[in-house]
């Protein structure tokens, strides 16, 4: 019995040493980009810094409460330095941000290896650049976001870049009115390049959170958008509201690498 125990311990030690030795001898194979970092892109929607839940009410100002029923927009492209991560994302929070937990968690929209270990800048656009906006839904397979017929408006000859829809309620009178803001047209596309000094961890997942605060979409320089005076924007030629929303949308984003 005692001998058996000694033999078992002996073999255990030998096996451990052998295993350690083998690992030590193995080279890490980083050919063909095997060790490249993985980047996971998550989109999150907020209102005043809090997770925005579709259907929930938020204080817009002293008298108005706002609740969103549909929020989606095109995000094109996403570029780290000169590497395109994606040509186009369609951020659609309508059926994703259905409760606080899901809204806090965000939605993973991309996960893939990237061919770089660091970045110094990040470029992004809201809406679609002209080349993509000149395409039509029938040019794409149904798995592509630009195939969606509900995101194309033939009267504009444009995709709908962003949709913000919901209700505003006057807290004093109880009156509730719907609002719908659709933006589109090549002139509404906005693009920006920002410093993004980051090192990506090899062979592991680096999560890039793209956070959008909708408060900032409807507010500029501390002044709220006059929703009651502009309840709808989806007519041809009504570009002022479209420009306002898209410029704000561009600046409503923050990028955080976990």
């Amino acid at each position: 019995m005692k001998n058996n125990l000694i033999i078992a311990v002996f073999f255990g030690i030998v096996l451990s040493l052998n295993s350690f030795s083998c690992n030590k001898d193995k080279d890490v194979d980083c050919s063909d980009g095997k060790c490249n970092p993985v980047i996971k892109v998550k989109s999150k929607l907020k209102f005043d810094g809090l997770p925005l839940v579709i259907g929930d009410s938020y204080a817009f100002n002293d008298t108005l409460e706002i609740r969103f029923l549909r929020v989606n927009y095109m995000f094109s492209p996403l570029i780290l330095d000169d590497s395109i991560i994606s040509d186009v994302f369609h951020f659609d929070f309508t059926s994703k941000n259905i409760d606080k937990t899901k809204a806090e968690l965000g939605t993973t929209i991309f996960e893939n290896k990237i061919n770089k270990s660091s970045s110094v800048s990040l470029s992004y656009g809201v809406g679609l650049p002209q080349k993509l906006n000149n395409s039509r839904p029938e040019d794409f397979l149904s798995s592509h976001p630009l195939s969606n017929q509900s995101l194309y408006w033939a009267s504009w000859g444009s995709y709908i870049f962003a949709q913000f829809e919901g209700y505003v309620k006057n807290k004093r009178t109880g009156e509730e009115l719907s609002f719908t803001y659709h933006t589109g047209g090549n002139e509404s596309y906005k693009f920006k390049k920002i410093p993004f000094l980051k090192n990506f961890q090899p062979s592991t997942t680096n999560t890039l959170n793209i956070n959008c605060d909708v408060r900032k979409v409807f507010s500029r320089d501390g002044i709220n958008f006059d929703i009651m005076a502009n309840l709808q924007n989806h007519a041809t030629g009504s570009t002022a509201v479209s420009q306002y929303i898209m410029e704000n949308l561009l600046n409503a984003h923050e990028f955080i690498l976990e």
Binding site: L69, N148, Q149, A154, S155, E165, S178, H234
Partner: protein
């Protein structure tokens, strides 16, 4: 000599007895050589996506067409798919709610099958079927529709004088035991993909510059798609966008009022997704051939196009998740008529009279 005869007899008996079973299977004498079929899609329509495991063939369509019109799929052989999807009603049934084999009423109206091949966001009013092949399974089993079981249907196919041959020609089965519900629904889906717009409606010809719309139709067109500031935005095109005149998305169009999200009589999409905000939402139907598909809405509660336009111009009934696009629209009675006249330009009789999709029996 006598010995030789006995020997030959013995050899014959042995060979006859030992002949492999499949060699006597008459199905194998029928050639399996399916002919690929190219469905013609009108210009500017979405890409027609055919599942890789169910390519469209002449033989598959032939089988599917028969199955679509054959009451063999129902419990008492009294109803077929076509009982609720008649070509003259643009593949609806002209009823508010369809009746099944037991005389029981379903809770929703029959949906048009026109351009169903492009329904990539789910089928039925609530989107509970992911694709056409999956959709075709369900009415057979539904107690308020055909109220049959697939094993029974498959047994009926096996005993049928024609179907084993048709399954052989369409799918290359080697024995009747290979007839399955999956193959049957594949064939039905192949056939249903043929129920497609012809591109010959007045609207389509107008887009191609072949005809002009009259003034009323043109005003209706402009209001429908909000093409001009000089006319009201009727807000129709958001959900009924061209070219399909549906986005195939799910909306609460304000048909019924509901104090809370749990108060909808029919929760629709919400039952499928489990998301409360989806309660009371239904898939947007196509407006192509709308003149043939009355009564309207998922519950068939609106009888005429005039009443439909009235419903939307009033902004529908209140509920927490009523779509923000359903809001009061001030239209004159003339403008309402102009909208309806535009809807008539979507009539496509060539599509529903296509000989290839009529009853083969």
């Amino acid at each position: 000599m006598g010995r030789t005869i006995y020997l030959w007899l013995l050899i014959t008996i042995v060979f006859t007895y030992c002949k492999p079973k499949e060699d006597v299977n008459p199905l194998l004498d029928i050639p399996y050589n399916p002919t690929s079929y190219q469905i013609v899609v009108p210009p500017r329509f979405p890409i027609l996506e055919i599942p890789t495991d169910n390519p469209t063939t002449v033989e598959g369509i032939d089988l599917g067409r028969r199955l679509f019109y054959d009451p063999i799929l129902s419990k008492d052989s009294s109803m077929s798919c076509s009982s609720c999807h008649l070509s003259e009603f643009s593949f609806t049934d002209g009823k508010a709610k369809s009746l099944g084999v037991d005389g029981l009423s379903g809770k929703r109206s029959s949906m048009s099958l026109l351009d169903v091949a492009f329904s990539y966001k789910g089928l039925f009013w609530d989107g509970r079927a992911k694709n056409m092949e999956e959709q075709a399974l369900m009415p057979v089993m539904d107690p308020v529709e055909l109220h049959e079981t697939w094993p029974n249907v498959v047994e009926k196919f096996k005993r049928h004088k024609d179907y084993p041959t048709l399954f052989r020609k369409a799918f290359g089965i080697k024995s009747i035991d290979q007839i399955t519900e999956k193959l049957a629904t594949k064939a039905i889906a192949q056939f249903e993909r043929l129920i497609i717009s012809s591109g010959k409606s007045k609207y389509d010809r107008f887009l191609r510059g072949e005809v002009l719309l009259d003034d009323d139709e043109l005003d209706g067109f402009d209001m429908f798609f909000n093409n001009t500031f000089s006319l009201p935005d009727a807000q129709c095109g958001h959900c009924h966008n061209a070219p399909l005149f549906t986005t195939n998305d799910y909306f609460n169009n304000g048909l019924t009022s509901a104090a809370t999200l749990n108060d909808f009589v029919d929760k629709g999409r919400g039952i499928v997704t489990g998301i409360a905000l989806d309660n009371g939402k239904f898939r947007v139907p196509t407006l192509r051939n709308i003149v043939f598909t009355a009564p309207y809405m998922h519950d068939g509660s609106i009888l005429t196009l005039e009443e439909v336009v009235e419903h939307y111009s009033r902004g529908g009934h209140p509920s927490i998740n009523k779509d923000p696009l359903i809001t009061q629209v001030v239209l004159t009675s003339r403008q309402k008529q102009q909208l309806i006249k535009f809807l008539h330009t979507l009539t496509d009789t060539a599509a529903i009279n296509n000989p290839a999709i009529q009853n083969p029996f």
